[in-house]
Symmetry: C2
Subunit: 223 residues, 2 copies
Amino acid sequence: MTPVDRTFDIQLNELKKLVLAMGGHVETALDLATQALTKRQTERFAEVHKVEQAINEEHVKVDSACLHFLAMQGPVAKDLRFIFSIIKLNADLERMGDQAVNIAYTGKDYLNRESIPWPVEIEEMSRIVRLMVRESLDSFVREDVDLARKILLMDDDVDRRKDLVFKKLITYMRDNSQHIESAMDLILIARNLERLGDHATNIAEEVIFVSTGKDVRHGGKFS
Amino acid sequence: MTPVDRTFDIQLNELKKLVLAMGGHVETALDLATQALTKRQTERFAEVHKVEQAINEEHVKVDSACLHFLAMQGPVAKDLRFIFSIIKLNADLERMGDQAVNIAYTGKDYLNRESIPWPVEIEEMSRIVRLMVRESLDSFVREDVDLARKILLMDDDVDRRKDLVFKKLITYMRDNSQHIESAMDLILIARNLERLGDHATNIAEEVIFVSTGKDVRHGGKFS
């Protein structure tokens, strides 16, 4: 192996590590936001913002590393598709951090109001989405297309739960108009969780693209 | 100019044209969705789906063209940053198409229910966001950083209007619990419009990055 090749591999591995660390932070941010909300610990929302700052810093780092890698290594074929995918999933991870922060903001509003009955699906959505984040990135570094496909199915579970949350809370609002703000907060949080699932799905679709060259984003069929 | 240089410029211009066409389709999709909603023309929502299909096809084309360009031309420095930005704004434009379709879906639900008083800010948001789409892409192809900065301010206008829509509709729901679903539809539509504005803002931030090399995405300062 020539020194140039080694640099190539080292840089690629560094990039993978950075992306995995970022995914870990996204999971943490989401976990913190959900726990603060369900355990009514307002003070913990500040921790979500701290973790999001780390995600933002990693976002800038990954972008620079990708630009540098493209300029210096001129990757082709599969390696190029791999970098291409990192550029995109980096954007998804950064926006997942934003969504966790949105949950923290709305969660804070919610905890300042009177409590209302809590649809169990919200915590379930958070749990599934955290798993989706982890497994989408696992599928990415291991190029595990089967796992990536599993994530597309998990997203259907998230969407079903979001529909249930909406249904329950709209019914609740109709009979409890004094608690409309609280119900609306929970609806917006369910919406944020749905979007988090969408971003993890984008990552899984990228994995399928990078590994198979097939584009499944717009109704493309699996092989 | 060597033949290679010409290919480089021709491909770059083709890419710009493709991105502008895609932006035009996003504007059209949003305009159609808003008009169908405000003029109560349910049948026109189908047109939004057709335009979104065109956006999705362009999305795949732009991605392939970028991959091809990176592999064949090995751009560096500013040209590389330019391609890098196209990869990202392509994702933003595609998701704007999704948001227009979301508006069409929710709009269809809304038109099937009883009408409620319509917050004027919804149409205003749609108008501003369409302008943001056009001007963000104009700023991109002309590398007009001043125009890009203007877009960041327009997004504040969109957000302020979204807050007003929320406030008005929550008050309305409290006194008209029989119309909660209709009010919720309009809230979700305002939320979609807010997200459309966010995507245009992402594009403007990319323009600032590509032209100045400065990253303004996470609180980075303008020069």
